[in-house]
């Protein structure tokens, strides 16, 4: 089992979700996050004072998947999230030793 984590631009969420469904990922979890990176933030001006806002709204997607499909899933995310502009985000993969479906107690590949 692997946990695949992707940080993407919010407006690509729908596309990535569809792409993941297409490669058979049936469950995932989404978090609204703030990203800091090469893209840089922006400046807001309130009453003439400048506020450097370093963080850019991003969306984090997490999905635990079977080892067999990891590459496919990563590719699907990268393809769907890509806009070729700075700030497109990152995908990373970490090992997961166990996955349990709470409702049934099923484990690992059965729980995906």
């Amino acid at each position: 089992m692997k946990l695949i984590t992707a940080i993407i631009k919010p407006f690509r969420l729908d596309g990535v979700k569809e792409a993941l469904k297409a490669v058979g990922v049936e469950g995932l979890t989404v978090t609204e996050v703030q990203g800091f990176g090469r893209q840089g933030g922006h400046t807001e001006t309130y009453r003439g004072a400048e506020y450097k806002i370093d963080f850019v709204p991003k969306v984090k997607i997490e999905a635990v998947v079977s080892d067999a499909v990891v590459d496919q899933v990563v590719d699907a995310i990268v393809t769907a999230a890509r806009t070729d502009k700075i700030g497109d985000g990152k995908v990373w993969v970490t090992p997961a030793e166990l996955l349990v479906r709470i409702r049934t107690g099923e484990r690992n590949d059965d729980a995906v």
Binding site: F11, Q34, H42, E44, T45, Y46, I53
Partner: protein
């Protein structure tokens, strides 16, 4: 000058001015949070620019002189006012109406219009569209022929509604529309706007009596009942069709009822205003569905609510106007009777004519303004700005900041 009439007009003018922030919240709650401040700003902008323009030249163009088609400059810069006759009050009361009219259009262009273009559009439209139409409908030729418009159905709602259509035809659809829809980012903000609009509308309609008299009371009653009736009938329509009573349905129905009773609230009686409200709620609830069929992206339904509701209310006067009832309330208050009240079709024909004329003129001139702006400074933000959000890019502001509680 009667102090009681003054008191009511002062109050009414304050309440109508408050309607524009109310509209800002009504619309601002419906858009996504990344475009909320742009929406507020489009509305507040009208409050800054239009009253000044109105005091300087607009009022004079819309109400001064004996012409048929447009006023003159005699009363520009607030000169030559009849100070005994309350004209200053009249001017500022009407300034608040002039301000909210272009603000109505902001709902249609939400999420994609350049703010610089809006900033210029508002004064241009006020002078080139609002002033002449107001002149025709009130002191000018349409009024002289016999059509009526108590508080601004034709000159405000129909006028802004058709103008909205003209602008969005030039502006185009939002990216992703109609496949990708976003729900209102804050329904409590929408409901706050609704409450403020209803409150202010009492000043709008009952203030248009120009005095704290029986006509004002009747207009007030009609405003309350039509809004309630339309809120109810819109909500019930949705309950039957979609299975739920929704807050947005109630809010939309209330506004539709207020729009529909605006032209007639000083010409019809309470029972008719309930009927007008009930009809408006159902018709507008159905009318907002047209845009996806016809393919114009009227983001927050200015056409379905203000154009359709305004037309409906204005034309229904031709059926429900009841001069006899008002003769008991206010002596010497004369207007043509509606079809159901022994007046034949004359009023109905005039109401239709006044609206048709307004539709044609306002559409044509608004379209021209939008086209010129589009060809010069550009009407629409870039795709990038549209997807990043107008608040940050057009105004360098964010509606809600939470992470920043972390600093210090």
């Amino acid at each position: 000058m009667d102090s009681g009439d003054n008191a009511w007009l002062l109050t009414s003018a304050a309440l109508v001015l408050f309607m524009t922030p109310g509209l800002a919240f009504f619309y601002g709650g419906m858009v996504r949070s990344k475009n909320t401040l742009n929406m507020l700003m489009m509305n507040f902008w009208c409050l800054l620019v239009v009253p000044l323009l109105w005091a300087i030249v607009g009022y004079s163009l819309a109400f001064s002189g004996d012409g048929d088609f447009i006023g003159n400059f005699d009363k520009s810069f607030m000169r030559n006012f009849d100070m005994q006759g309350n004209e200053l009050m009249f001017m500022i009361f009407l300034a608040t109406f002039a301000a909210i009219t272009p603000a109505l259009i902001s709902g249609a262009v939400a999420d994609r219009m350049k703010f610089s273009a809006w900033a210029i559009f508002v004064p241009l439209w006020s002078i080139l569209v609002y002033c002449p139409v107001t002149f025709w409908v009130y002191p000018g030729w349409l009024a002289e022929r016999g059509s009526v418009d108590f508080a601004g159905g034709t000159s405000i709602h129909v006028n802004a509604g058709i103008g909205a259509l003209a602008v969005i035809l030039v502006l185009g659809k939002r990216k992703g529309w109609p496949e990708k829809l976003s729900p209102p980012h804050s329904m409590p903000l929408v409901m706050l706007g609704t409450g403020i609009l209803w409150l202010g509308w009492f000043g709008f309609n009952a203030g248009s009596a120009g005095a704290a008299n029986g006509r004002a009371i009747q207009a007030f009653v009609n405003t309350a009942l039509a809004a309630a009736a339309a809120g109810l009938s819109w909500a019930v329509t949705e309950k039957f069709r979609d299975g739920h009573f929704t807050n947005l349905g109630v809010a939309s129905g209330i506004v539709a009822g207020l729009v529909a009773i605006t032209p007639g609230c000083g010409f019809v009686t309470g029972g008719s205003s309930i009927l007008i409200g009930l009809i408006a709620g159902v018709v507008c609830a159905l009318a907002v569905g047209l845009k996806s069929k016809l393919g114009y992206d009227d983001a927050l339904d200015v056409i379905g609510v203000h154009l359709v509701g305004g037309l409906l209310g204005s034309i229904l006067i031709g059926f429900f106007a009841d001069p006899e009832a008002f003769s008991k309330i206010d002596e010497g208050y004369e207007f043509l009777g509606g079809l159901f009240y022994g007046g034949g079709t004359e009023l109905l024909v005039e109401q239709i004519l006044a609206n048709v004329v307004t539709l044609i003129f306002s559409f044509a001139v608004t379209f021209a303004i939008a086209k010129v702006l589009d060809l010069t400074i550009g009407l629409r933000v870039s795709e990038e700005v549209e997807s990043e959000g107008l608040d940050i890019r057009e105004h360098a502001e964010t509606a809600y900041s939470s992470l920043d509680r972390s600093t210090i």
